[in-house]
Symmetry: D3
Subunit: 292 residues, 6 copies
């Protein structure tokens, strides 16, 4: 169950209206790596968890915080829009080219659809979607997904930091940056602990028997582009993270002829060849029968 | 530039038709973590790269291989569909409930739309989409995304391995599993090298000055769910991966009153209160003016 | 069957070009509550209708009108774009910052994709989609959906009214506002008639036996946020619309322990605990068997 | 802020596994009118609210409950999948046509992607999306949207009730049905109170001056289909809900000639006519100039 | 304006219920090349038309017919669902594996969402979307799009013809096949006429001056795959449709070094190299300044 | 298999930065008819091909080239963004209204998400999706789709040509225009050859027996709009492309009464009439039984 408290985790009020910035801030609210994504992602990982105890408490404990971040951003966006020019023609400032520019750079649905309110969309107006989240049931994979989400998120917030001078907005961003710092560290720590405690290892999923994979190519770097520098990375020689040895190869080490084109049932009406008249006639008869 | 060779990297032919399995295999072709995703993701990371040399060669070198994996899967799917019952009513087998079940479990667009061919969709028929990929320009974030993609992908292939007895299909999957093993190791190795060479560090992005984040909460575990076990993880005490110290807190350590509701321009036609008659009258006058 | 007459229901010609406004107008053409939505929604309700006579005639009678509204808006948009600067560089006015601002605020696909024509998208360029419509077969639910659609639509048109000074555009909007007034009234009237004639009642669906619902909580206001004011609404005490009595409760009146985490088949490769060595060994054996 | 408690509002455990039903239940979790929709919809209405007090408390108070319903359904789905056959080939039961049928009817991503877990998608596997929600800032419109959402939702749950015999599942559904009963009543009550307290009225938005709409057609039923029965409804004569009088008309009462086709700049490369050689030549010259 | 007549263009009633087939039929109702697509495509081409007269009359004349085809298919689907088992558990037949298979193969939203009605989706349940249509303003391009749409559509209907034995359904399909035959012929004829009358020619758009294209490669077949057979087609030598001469080349005839990686502003936080300490220091200073 | 060479097919470097144009160029990279579409479309046609030899070599040979065009455009976009103002506030130029206008017209995700890099989206920020491509297995239909794609693509590039003065950009566009010229010619030539060699003919699919279509209407122009000019086209009289004779008819030549509304199982909870008390009682009894 979820309980809502009518307080925010941090101050979330701008110094002044800025509808263009409100649009930009939508990215970290409703974008691929916005707060809705991490909130939903952690919660689904909890609901699908197969492991009681600290790992499940972890995803629940952070997931609920992230819903509060959604709230802080939505609240901030609504305030950024509150007194901003939103394209109303009779506003005197409308004739000013700077104002025209500003209005041109806004999310016009902020005004038309939401009446100066936040929306569950990204900074280009694409609606948030369930396919942004990851919850596989395999915690090492999922914690890696979480670490990535926090890295992408903090990078986006850092970029947004330089796109405004507003102290109120920057203050909120400084808080989100700090929490992203924590969450990056936390997911990496959790991934380490998970491996140390033997729940999961590399390669993921570690309990699939490697004897069943085609091990000849399991540690080969195969270079399909003509750049030569990749041979110099630690992925091309030396030990692998999971205790084997990397090797470098320029191009594939295996190859096979492409199989012959398929020739499905004639009632699929694809274009096929029939190599000789006999087969053609046979095909015609068969077709005739098929179609009756 | 890309050059195509009419060979496959590995044998990709099933022992027998299986349209239901063809549908399932679509997941690792055109799903969120399918081969189209990694192929496009690595290529976009290369095109947007800011760093010449081995890291860019790496994403190009692997990205091109992944397009070949798309091809192997598409080829396999077409063959799985080639002689399979695809719902044609006059097929004698149609009356058999097992066949009916099979047809019910297929991707019906394989037959109706593609005429027994592969499609750029996932196993539920959702079209592949550009929002699946990640390419931020920050390589530590992106390599973490790549490691996750290979972990999710290998987990899905491992699951698919048990959903068929077909030796030809399993052979292809064993190859893909091995390459996913390599690619997981490789991206983790690349992430390590990137940090050792000083290009990037934790927290990502590492060159954003941490003095500008609200450091009080940068290493606090804040528990927003009532499970108590999360206090026992290495994310709750002890050193953080980036060299600080974790602390544990039950709930938020900061809080703020929620700001007052916004009251945008009356021509947004939202529902607002006007607290007293004087203001109401003033509002009416202003409205009157606004609307002329 | 549908017949098209090359006339419009109302004058739909702007006084002057305005590509920025053309983009905004797309919202009520191809947005969530645009004219395509209501046209398609009413028609699907008619095709899926289970009730002959006046209710079916009603959805058909209005649905066809709405297709004509789609046409008026598309025609208007094409005219707004006709002589507008659409980003062509050699246009002298291009150097003017106001013009640059205008071009920045347009839907660039109007020019690049449609060659100065209307498109089936919303004001942020999201394509119209079938998931916007509602047609459940339950007419009281659907007429409520229709009333809402007309309310949202009229609100959006009202906002758009203030975003232009163009008399031609405003004239068209004044017509659409009037028809939305009619349609709001009409759907509310139809919802009343449906209940009076006994086809449907509250709660929807009224012929599901309420004895099968968990009636203890059927009329309880359960407050999951810490605001106290909600206790003062008519939803917190007094008679319910369907003839029962509301009661107010601060938080849930029922609760249950969360079930234990699931532990699916090991071949799903999720992360699980195996609580003791015996079980671990047994699991390993079982796994071994499973994988052969 | 949101706080999570590791308890459920109601018992949510099935008697036995049923992967086909798990897929169906996804509709009321992640579909157009599923619990994610109402949870997010009410919260966004709260964050965008312009009116402090009981109406805002109401949307927050119910929105948080709905997130708990998301949790109950996700938990139920994971349990329905826990021991169900999910397409693993070596399972003995696989040869049974009934089992084959069952596997054919599942959401195959439940197994391949989520490892036997719930997902934020509908019963056809379409990801949940932000465009499902409604939050306009106009509370009478939004409460009507809410009433509709609860009506559609309860209708879907009622249908799902008959698609299973499982007592555990039916028990959960009986609880959801009861809460939907409450929420239908509540939103209708709130819509009445809002009007009685003068915050909003018909037609929505009520503070847009009706003098600016084309009032000649504001209360006309215009019949664009050839069914004659619609004239007999209370939408065709008698008083309108907002105090005017309906009238019935067979077809439009207004009409206008369609404007001439647009002829945009020649550099849009659309197909146009140039009516005579003089103009054609002029056009060619102009084109020549344009292109330099 | 559109007027609706409560008649169908052709008999559209099945002999018996078939929910699995109803799902399949959704493809030609709401799929990429279904009837909604062509109806909307032709209408938008009309509304965006720049040429009065017969070409515009043509797109309007056929577009309105296609809306009637949408109606015939929706009506048929509702009837196919009317008495079909839709997953209601207490239906005796449910125990029959064939029935289970059938239910598994249905669109479960037909029952849960639409209550046994048609929906604006394709046969995999993907909602119809505006991005399916084409309307560029260039009529030769658009008529080619139309010819393709009718070819894809007729191919799909031909496939569907063999997936049922129902005489009523086949009768409707035979009608749709005939109309697709007409429409294929018609769009090809219109494309010819358009060119003969000089409105448009090859290459499209024909009034873009070819002197501005890089004509060296305008008629070169460049082979980027290693198959040698493509040299034998009429696209590799001999006259081009627009009166030039094809030539064949194995691989590209032009090539350029890839430009250096970009190095954007440091506040984008991408990963870059700074080649020597001096530059690094300078960068640090610049960064310091930037961030203040 | 695909091999990548770190060279471009043509020079792809702008004279100067232009973030607004970078956004526009996204259309031909990741739009409905952008290079990703044609690259993927041709490759899927190859993988699904049923015909070995020159036609399959053709789709492979061109498909691989198109991936190189994706690369040229992505590279160009990254360079256009490299030094452009991307909304960073402290940039001095920010106060200039022209700069503000420019920033307002950019794709803000270019900066926030990609850190000044290209993305797989169109010019309105909609992600590329698999439903853009066409691959039916019927080569005459698919080559027509390909011809259309190249026509739409060349039209868009021609429009984009006039939206910039940058010589570097125009040079790249001149190359793409030339290749589109080639590809239009090539697909039309291939469509001719396919018919001459007897693999396919009109109407598509030509091997579906026309005796099974309702031939009475196979060559009738049916006018559903009231424009009279369409009678004057070559689609209204004279020979059809496939050797029959067109005829013109004002409106439908066939019509049928609409079937009665469906009345599904009462547990679908749709709204139905029950015509008399006897049936109503019977229904009630049946309902009672059903629900137990």
């Amino acid at each position: 169950m979820f309980f809502h408290r009518q307080e925010l985790q941090f101050r979330s009020t701008p110094d002044q209206p800025d509808a263009v910035y409100a649009r930009k801030l939508q990215e970290v609210l409703g974008g691929q790596y916005g707060e809705i994504t991490v909130a939903m992602q952690y919660m689904f990982q909890g609901w699908n968890s197969h492991l009681p105890g600290k790992y499940r408490d972890l995803v629940f404990g952070i997931g609920a915080e992230e819903f509060g971040h959604v709230e802080m951003l939505a609240t901030m966006i609504a305030q950024l829009l509150e007194k901003a020019p939103l394209g109303i023609t009779s506003d005197a400032v409308q004739d000013d080219p700077t104002v025209a520019a500003v209005v041109g750079g806004t999310d016009v649905q902020h005004a038309i659809v939401a009446g100066a309110g936040a929306r569950p969309v990204d900074s280009n107006g694409n609606p948030w979607q369930g396919s942004y989240i990851t919850g596989s049931g395999n915690l090492l994979a999922d914690f890696t997904a979480n670490a990535n989400a926090e890295m992408q998120g903090r990078t986006q917030v850092a970029r947004l930091y330089h796109m405004t001078d507003d102290h109120g907005v920057r203050e909120l961003l400084s808080f989100l940056l700090a929490r992203d710092t924590m969450h990056q560290n936390q997911w990496l720590a959790a991934a380490v602990e998970l491996q140390e405690e033997g729940y999961e290892g590399m390669p993921v999923p570690s309990n699939f028997p490697q004897s069943k994979e085609y091990t000849e190519v399991s540690y080969q770097y195969l270079n399909f582009s003509d750049g030569k520098e990749a041979a110099n990375g630690r992925w091309a020689s030396g030990p692998t993270p999971d205790g084997h040895e990397f090797s470098y190869h320029d191009g594939p080490t295996t190859h096979e002829p492409m199989p012959a084109p398929t020739r499905p049932d004639s009632r699929m009406y694809g274009t096929t060849d029939l190599p000789n008249p006999v087969e053609k006639a046979a095909g015609a008869v068969q077709d005739k029968l098929n179609r009756e």
